[in-house]
Symmetry: C2
Subunit: 227 residues, 2 copies
DNA sequence: TGTCAACTGTCAGTGACTGACATTAGCTTG
DNA sequence: CAAGCTAATGTCAGTCACTGACAGTTGACA
């Protein structure tokens, strides 16, 4: 509860501002080193030295080496949740989740830029996807998020999360598909925002058709739902 | 490629048998300690000491403390893959995956028992689900498995994995739902095989309905697909 | 039986992380 | 503005997972 998440230099004391600067510096230096030399080849000492603080201080700002890698990601997730909560109740669960994702991407850029360059965050995301230890952490974090989303969906639909399996099932299917899109984006050449948007829509469009028993009709074209 | 996975004491030399016994002992002791004292409160030294080998030897059998926790899980997964490969080609992808899972559970017990008591494995699974670090590793391993399954599905349906998003999308949705069932089972009271089978079927049954736009019709009863 | 290769143990070292305690430096109050 | 409080930081020692190097042991096999 005492944590500040953005770089909003509120008119607080010098102490606060110093802390904020230290945190920002640690974060930026860490991501820069991670993305250039690789996560595993970067030691915490290296990060701390670059910012000229002790290793102990690093661990007072971030509970682990891992945590610093997900600092921005966490903002993105809150953004999505906020967007989902704002979706009109008439929308079905899938429409709401889909619109929340696509909608949150319209404004997320600025929010990120307040902390680190967007381009650095893109590189970070790709690094997470390609570093086993970080991918594992990412997936675990995602399950926490899923549970939150399931709760929101259940709320929207006025259902009891423990009695009706549909909220969790729907969210699991949705996020599963999102992850496939995210992973392919991370592996692909095109690191643009356009690219991930297209990939996401493409994959979400295929969720319905993929559940059909018969697949033998080719379905290469994005929008063409066969069946 | 040089690894043995089961406890089949083939008529090989004394050396091989000794190795097998050491591995089995390490595995069993490790799981026993993990499940009783907790994963994090168990050190590798403790395990090694209990088996009376050096810590170094432990790491020659298992690449990490984590790996030993997943040794049995790995068997279970291979079992599922084998079952999936054996499903008749007429079955749709979902039917095939579903039947493969449920089918593999018919015979998995004996396979497990050859290495460790089934009951110990059940406890281990629950421990994995409730230990953050292990859950993370589990999820990462699952993505590897998903990719394998997607390949098999694409093969079955004679599709190009890179051109058609449906295999990956279907697998993501399927395994996402499986994980929800698995997690709930791990959290619930009933640790029986019956229990997980029921939970799985229940959740898979709800995948189709959950994709529908309209949910307002209550769907509490397991088999009752509304809409 | 002797030789080779596979196992194993020992040792030293790295890197993430933690608790305890001393030190520094904003903030507050008289 | 000086004294005192307290949050932030530094230092140090220690634990634990994991690794490379090297030496000792012990099955396997001619």
């Amino acid at each position: 509860m005492t944590e500040r998440q953005a770089t909003i230099e509120s008119t607080t004391g010098l102490r606060e501002r110093k802390k904020q600067r230290t945190r920002d510096a640690l974060l930026r230096v860490a991501l820069e080193l991670f993305t250039t030399q690789g996560y595993e080849h970067t030691t915490v000492d290296e990060i701390a030295d670059a910012v000229e603080v002790s290793q102990r201080t690093f661990f007072r700002y971030f509970a682990s080496k891992e945590e610093v890698a997900f600092a921005v990601q966490e903002m993105v997730e809150s953004h999505f949740v906020a967007e989902l909560l704002a979706r009109p109740p008439e929308e079905g669960p899938f429409a709401a989740m889909r619109n929340a994702v696509l909608g949150s991407w319209n404004t997320i850029g600025e929010a990120i830029e307040a902390v680190v360059p967007v381009e650095l965050h893109m590189r970070t995301y790709r690094m997470i996807e390609s570093t086993p230890a970080l991918l594992a952490a990412h997936l675990r974090r995602s399950t926490d998020l899923e549970e939150r989303i399931a709760g929101i969906v259940a709320e929207r639909e006025e259902l009891d999360l423990d009695a009706d399996p549909r909220p969790r099932v729907a969210v699991a299917a949705f996020t599963g598909v999102m992850r496939v899109a995210g992973r392919l984006w991370g592996q692909g050449e095109d690191a643009s925002m356009e690219s991930i948007r297209t990939l996401t829509e493409l994959h979400l469009d295929h969720l319905g058709p993929a559940l059909a028993a018969e697949w033998r009709t080719p379905a290469r074209t994005p929008g063409a739902h066969t069946a």
